[in-house]
């Protein structure tokens, strides 16, 4: 409750009164401060608001005003409530009024001091958190309030000592001074922001409001600390900048759709993406929806709706969007919605990513495919459609052609990798050298066997590719191109390897596990283990050692190569098997010795091991429940051995299994004996006792005798026998009891039974015995709810026990006799058994093997846990009925299952079968079932052990392998090439479908047929040398011209690739035969054409050219001036035609390879001079000077073609040089070759043309041939000539500055 102290407008304080009385005073300045700092009144307490403490005076204390005044001064308070006799507030003393009352004397005294208003103001200044100050026009602070000092950390005097501008941030000084001038200029209030330095060197941002009073030459200013706001603003700016940057960099367009209003914000980039300017697209949903391709809008909407319905975490779709220019762009559209609490969509924000290029690339790929198919060149189409990689490489290993499959597998387009060397692009560094070596061999015409290497795709993935290569020779017998055909076998290999490993692994593990389940015969298990391991790892000797308590390792099982000395039967104090090594084995560590001679072992140990011819060894500990049971040891005696990680792993797993077997066997033996023994004993004892006790009661006379007997029994029994009376006092305590409980009979007789029972069980026991006393039973087993009863030994230890109780009515009342056995050991053993069974279950789980056991006599069937898992009865705790089990087998397997089981049960012989198993959801599993019946002496089966292994993974892998093989076969059938596998007896083992077409016989009829039979004697004789080559292990490619059955001859190109078995012997070879009759015909026609065209075109040209020449020279009479001009035009053009025909025929001739070079001694100097002389007239015509450096170097080459090359290059240089410039022709000697160079200062060649310029008709500018009178073939001819000489030609050029053409010719 708030009460104004005075009702008038004069009131400047508020008293806060609660039920308990006055709790606070709020002054006017408190309120001002409250408002200034923006404190939330709803959450503020009165104490927090008050700036002056609550000081009160009683009425009687207010008699002396001066005293009151000094009280106020002393406590620095301005208001003092005055209390009446009953502590009620009767008034408030106010310092201001007091001061007025104190008279004029003080007032006069205070004239030089601040007036009351000034004082009030000053207080104001003191408490306000705002910065207030007064600065003079002289640049110094005149007055500063404490808040200012506090914020900057300087004292008043420090601030006043320097011009205030010194405290302003250097960057803000100019602006601040400008503001000062503005202030000084007029009578206005001005606001600005600047930074002030604090004492610790930081800066604070201040927002100033100030006004100057010109008459006083002072500026009155107040400021607020806005540093926080500024920092926040900066952070916001930064983050906004980052966001913008991110948007820009991500290159995504952003849209933000307010679903409730259907208003959409589209970012600038979004609009740009579609080709629109910022203001061309409005903020409506329609702008988005009307642009989605009509074919896409349906499902895009569906995707969006699914997301709205929260079925999908994101909205994501790829669709086409209409651009401003009418084209469609592929867009990846992603978004995420915001929902309100009711699940209604409020808005969705998303982004557009332009994926046209990816899509275009995809479409382009398809288009290219279609175009290719349309081409007549069928083989090309096949190359691109088969699933095989086909790449064509030139002599430098550069990619000339690269089919679609290559593009798909590598992720590179042909355009990207065209002309690059294959090993630079695809081959991992480790394989480069090998691949290059293979390639070098390919170039020499030897075609290496099919080989496999890895390719690294664009995305970094590695592909294993199996290659077969074909070399293409030119007419000189030089390899010109290599055609590499490959199949990506990555998956196949992985599946193979995985399958192989898994299979071996599973098989062995399964075998051992099965043995462990099937047989308790430890020896058999161990023998199987060592035999299998020796076989699997191809070791020379495998041992299982038992580690005896004296740390001696005794071999208990061994598998060994026949010629080696056995270790079985020796007790070995092998130092590698004892001492510190043993300690390591106990920790599960493995000992690996790859080479005994270099291993860091003492020489005497080596000597010992050498006795057994050991060269390498691997020792794996067999642990069971952390106890070292034995060691699994593998030896290599004939050679050193690098033990592989996976081998060690297999051994380790096996050791686990053996450990299980060992502890299983031991436990079973021990436990069964123990249990049966003890049970019999207990029963007998109890029976005896009963009988004795009954007798005693009947015959008093025999009492003594009986008592002696009884005592004997009591004394000899291992069990505790304790008698108690109705009061549960112990009457009898035998030796067994003494042993078990640790009490002596004499100290415990007469005590209550409770002393032997753990405290928690006492009340139950007491009650129990009472109830038993009242029941009609004579004896019963004692048990607590959990199963066992617990006893309490003298030393306070509790132990589990089995107990029975009997009662005997006597004269003294009922006598209870408790017979009790300590079962701590048995329980421990049982726990161990349980642990071991858990281990077994785990082993089964790993191996995916379940086991079962059926007792025919009791008809009892038991399943292991894993079997439930495998068969999918996971929810069942009991075994389903035989019928239910049987029905789960696949109906097609019913007969097999039924027959096998019936037969097995009848004959008592082990069985094995594979079958399918159908789970309720329709999934089919593949199971391998084995059974092993046990027969009695009459040969009747009385028990069956069985295992069921889940082999679905294996079957799946086999199936997928089969599928990929089928695919391969499909491919090979689809190829228009004869593909066959021929064994080393030269008989067909596989033929593809093309054989059926060629030979008109079904494939089945070709199987096993000899090559001779199929091709006929004559053709076979032609093929025989190559067949022999293939069978000797070399790949061979050849072309022959056989005759078919109808007597027509045809050409075929064949490649034989030998196939080796594991020993490196040739098992047979792959044969690939292609009909190249058409190709041969085309080749022949082409060469004929060159020859005919050469004559048929030159003859008419000779006449035309000759006549025009005469005409121009005026030999046929004077022509009119236009006549001369026209005749010259005809001459120029016929001249060009002649050159074109020459060039075309030259090139055709060169490329057909019919022309070989005839090397003779040449002199580079003479050639250069000759070339320069030949071109001199042309140079003069173009006003070009040819500079020569005719260095004389001797070499072997054909003069005319090299001269032609030089003149071609010179002619180009002249043609493309500006008039008045120079061209240079020179040569120099390099290592083993001559380097010629022709340089000009012409317009140069753009970088992208540097390679293609040597192709036919590939001038820099398509119009060059017309303008410059060239044929577009000159450089192609030059390249041909140079390459024919074994040299290289290239150009270096700076566009706009000129070019240098280089070529090299080897000296010899």
């Amino acid at each position: 409750m708030m009460t104004p102290s005075q009702p008038s407008s004069l009131s400047d304080c508020v008293l806060v009164v609660a039920a308990s009385g006055l709790i606070g005073i709020i002054t006017k300045s408190d309120v001002v401060r409250l408002v200034a700092t923006g404190v939330d009144l709803a959450t503020t307490t009165v104490e927090e608001v008050m700036s002056q403490p609550v000081m009160t005076l009683e009425r009687s204390q207010c008699q002396n005003i001066e005293l009151v005044w000094s009280f106020m001064q002393q406590h620095s308070v301005s208001y003092v409530p005055v209390l009446g006799d009953n502590q009620e507030i009767i008034g408030v003393m106010v310092s201001k009024s007091l001061m007025q009352c104190l008279g004029t004397k003080e007032e006069n005294q205070r004239e030089s001091e601040p007036t009351a208003t000034e004082l009030e103001l000053e207080r104001f200044f003191d408490i306000t958190p705002s910065i207030l100050c007064i600065a003079g026009f002289d640049g110094y602070f005149k007055w500063i309030n404490p808040a200012f000092c506090k914020i900057l950390g300087f004292t008043q005097s420090e601030l006043k000592a320097e011009p205030f501008i010194n405290f302003v941030h250097p960057k803000d000084r100019a602006a601040t001074l400008a503001e000062m001038e503005n202030l000084a200029a007029g009578n206005t209030t001005i606001s600005w922001e600047n930074r002030y330095r604090t004492k610790d060197g930081d800066y604070r941002w201040l927002l100033w409001t100030a006004k100057a009073y010109l008459a006083e030459e002072r500026i009155y200013a107040s400021a607020q600390d806005i540093t926080e706001r500024k920092t926040a603003e900066q952070a916001l700016k930064d983050s906004e900048a980052r966001w913008q940057l991110m948007l820009r960099e991500a290159n995504d367009g952003i849209w933000d759709w307010n679903v409730q209003t259907n208003e959409v914000f589209f970012s600038r980039r979004w609009k740009e993406m579609l080709g629109f300017a910022e203001d061309e697209i409005g903020n409506t949903l329609e702008e988005w929806s009307k642009r989605v391709h009509p074919d896409d809008i349906g499902w895009v909407t569906k995707v969006m709706e699914d997301h709205f319905a929260q079925k999908t975490p994101f909205y994501i779709s790829e669709h086409r969007v209409l651009c401003k220019d009418g084209s469609y762009k592929w867009i990846l559209d992603r978004g995420q919605a915001l929902w309100d609490e009711a699940g209604k969509v409020i808005r969705i924000i998303g982004s557009y990513t332009d994926i046209s290029q990816q899509q275009a690339a995809l479409r382009k790929g398809k288009k290219a495919e279609i175009q290719l198919q349309q081409e007549r060149d069928f083989s090309k189409a096949v190359i691109n459609t088969v699933g095989a990689l086909v790449a064509v490489l030139d002599r430098q290993g550069r990619i000339v052609s690269f089919n679609y499959t290559c593009e798909q597998i590598t992720g590179y387009s042909f355009e990207e990798i065209k002309g690059q060397q294959i090993w630079e692009k695809f081959i991992p560094p480790a394989e480069k050298a090998v691949v290059r070596a293979v390639f070098e061999r390919l170039l020499t015409g030897q075609v290496p066997n099919q080989y496999t290497n890895s390719w690294i795709a664009k995305d970094g993935s590695s592909h294993l590719i199996s290659w077969s290569n074909t070399a293409l020779f030119n007419a000189q017998g030089v390899v010109e191109f290599i055609i590499a055909t490959g199949i990506d076998v990555t998956e196949q290999c992985q599946v193979w390897n995985k399958l192989e490993n898994q299979y071996q692994h599973t098989k062995l593990l399964a075998e051992i596990t099965r043995k462990i389940r099937m047989s308790i015969d430890l020896e058999e298990i161990l023998q199987t283990a060592v035999t299998e391991v020796q076989h699997l790892l191809a070791c020379d000797r495998v041992l299982i050692m038992e580690v005896r308590c004296n740390n001696i390792a005794v071999p208990i099982s061994e598998s060994i190569l026949p010629e080696l000395p056995p270790m079985l039967g020796y007790e070995l104090a092998d130092p590698l098997l004892v001492g510190e090594y043993l300690a390591k084995y106990r920790q599960g560590k493995i000992l690996t010795i790859n080479d005994l001679s270099t291993a860091p072992i003492a020489p005497e140990i080596k000597q010992l091991l050498e006795q057994f011819k050991i060269k390498a060894q691997l020792v794996v500990p067999i642990l069971s429940q952390k106890e070292l049971k034995g060691l699994l040891v593998a030896h290599q005696c004939h050679n050193l051995r690098q033990w592989q990680e996976n081998e060690i792993q297999v051994l380790n797993q096996l050791a686990d299994q053996i450990g299980v077997a060992l502890s299983q066997a031991q436990l079973l033996n021990n436990l069964e004996e123990l249990v049966s023994e003890r049970t019999t004993e207990l029963t007998t004892t109890n029976q005896l006792l009963q009988a004795e006790i009954a007798e005693r009661e009947q015959t008093e006379a025999d009492l003594r005798e009986n008592q002696r007997k009884l005592a004997g029994i009591l004394d000899n029994a291992d069990e505790a026998i304790i008698s108690i009376n109705e009061q549960q006092q112990i009457q009898l305590f035998n030796r067994g009891a003494e042993k078990i409980f640790g009490y002596k009979a004499q100290e415990i007789v007469g005590q209550r039974l409770d002393i032997l029972i753990p405290e928690t069980s006492r009340p139950v026991h007491c009650q129990y015995i009472n109830e038993f006393g009242k029941s009609v039973e004579q004896a019963r087993t004692m048990a607590e709810r959990g199963g066992n009863v617990y006893g309490l030994r003298k030393n306070g230890e509790e132990f589990p026990a089995e107990a029975s109780i009997a009662k005997l009515p006597t004269r003294e009342g009922i006598l209870f006799t408790v017979m009790l056995k300590d079962i701590t050991k048995r329980q421990q053993a049982e726990e161990k058994l349980q642990a071991s069974q858990a281990l077994l279950a785990k082993a089964e789980k790993i191996a995916k093997i379940g086991s079962w056991e059926y007792n025919l006599a009791t008809q009892q069937l038991t399943w292991s846990e894993e079997l439930f898992e495998i068969l999918g009865f996971t929810n069942n705790t009991s075994i389903p009925s035989c019928q239910a089990i049987f029905e789960r087998f696949h109906p097609e397997d019913w007969l097999l299952v039924k027959n096998t089981l019936q037969q097995g049960h009848r004959d008592g012989k082990p069985w094995q079968f594979n079958s399918r198993w159908v789970l309720p959801n329709g999934t089919v599993k593949y199971l391998e079932s084995r059974g092993e019946p046990t027969v009695d002496r009459q040969g009747r089966v009385f028990k069956v052990w069985g295992t069921i292994m889940d082999i679905s993974d294996r079957v799946q892998a086999e199936k997928s392998l089969q599928r990929s093989e089928q695919q391969l076969q499909l491919i090979s059938d689809a190829l228009p090439v004869l593909i066959a596998y021929i064994d080393n007896q030269q008989r067909y083992r596989y033929n593809n479908r093309t054989y059926e077409i060629w030979f008109g016989k079904p494939r089945s009829a070709l199987l096993g047929v000899h090559i001779k039979e199929l091709f006929g004697e004559d053709n076979y004789q032609k093929m025989l040398p190559y067949i022999r080559t293939a069978l000797s292990g070399k790949t061979v490619t050849f072309e022959i011209q056989p005759t078919n059955e109808r007597g027509n001859s045809y050409w075929m190109n064949a490649t034989y690739i030998p196939d080796f078995d594991l020993d490196g012997e040739v098992k047979g070879f792959f044969s690939m035969i292609e009909d190249i009759t058409d190709r041969k015909e085309v080749e022949r026609m082409k060469s004929e054409f060159v020859s005919v065209a050469s004559h048929e075109m030159r003859t008419p040209l000779t006449s035309i050219y000759g006549v025009i020449k005469l005409l121009c020279a005026g030999r046929l009479g004077e022509l009119s001036p236009p006549g001369v001009e026209m005749a010259n035009m005809a001459l120029r053009n016929s001249d060009r035609l002649v050159r074109l025909v020459n060039d075309i025929l030259d090139l055709e001739r060169m490329e057909s390879g019919t022309d070989t070079i005839e090397r003779q001694q040449c002199d580079s100097g003479k050639l250069i001079k000759q070339a320069a002389e030949t071109m001199e007239s042309m140079a003069q015509e173009h006003q070009i000077v040819i500079e020569t450096n005719p260095q004389s170097i001797e070499f072997w080459g054909e003069r005319d073609p090299i001269l032609q090359t030089l003149t071609n290059l010179l002619s180009n240089a002249i043609k493309f040089s500006p008039a008045g410039s120079k061209v240079w022709i020179s040569c120099q000697k390099q290592e083993g070759e001559i380097l010629f160079a022709v340089q000009d200062r012409g317009r140069g060649i753009p970088t992208e043309k540097l390679e293609t310029i040597f192709e036919r008709f590939q001038q820099v500018d398509a119009s060059d041939s017309r303008k410059k009178g060239g044929t577009g073939l000159g450089l192609a001819i030059c390249r041909h000539i140079v390459q024919q000489h074994g040299g290289k030609i290239w150009v270096e050029s700076v566009y706009g500055e000129g070019s240098i053409f280089f070529f090299t010719i080897p000296q010899s």
Binding site: S1094, R1098, T1099, T1102, S1103, G1106, K1109, D1146, E1198
Partner: protein
């Protein structure tokens, strides 16, 4: 000096006319022509020209065989023979030289310099 007499053997009439015309005009030689190898050999034997210009590709008897026969005939074996041919392959040229040709001129030839080319091959000084 006696006017040189040249025999030009070519199955193409146009070429014969053109070659005869320009060699007479440029060098002032007396030109006689034959349209086949067989005819050429006869004329050569009877007229004893100073040189024979021979086309390589002719029906029935081609230039090379004509040359061989000319070389085997004692009446004509001394007459220098030059091929004027559209066959421009180096292997052909080598065959022609091997058979005894004194020179090989490619078609189409330059009608203005044909005479000087021939003179050059035959070692005749320019008239």
């Amino acid at each position: 000096m006696k006017k040189k007499r040249i025999l030009f053997i070519d199955d193409e009439e146009d070429i014969r006319i053109l070659a005869s015309f320009c060699l007479e005009l440029e060098a002032g030689w007396e030109m006689i022509t034959a349209s086949s190898g067989k005819e050429g050999i006869e004329i050569a034997a009877s007229q004893q020209p100073d040189a024979i210009l021979l086309d390589a590709m002719m029906p029935e008897m081609d230039g090379l065989e004509t040359l061989v026969q000319l070389q085997n005939n004692p009446k004509t074996k001394h007459i220098p023979t030059i091929f004027i041919t559209a066959k421009v392959q180096a292997s052909d040229r080598r065959r022609f030289y091997a058979a005894g040709a004194k020179g090989v001129i490619n078609k189409p030839f330059d009608s203005l310099t044909l005479a000087s080319q021939i003179s050059g091959f035959l070692g005749w000084s320019n008239q």
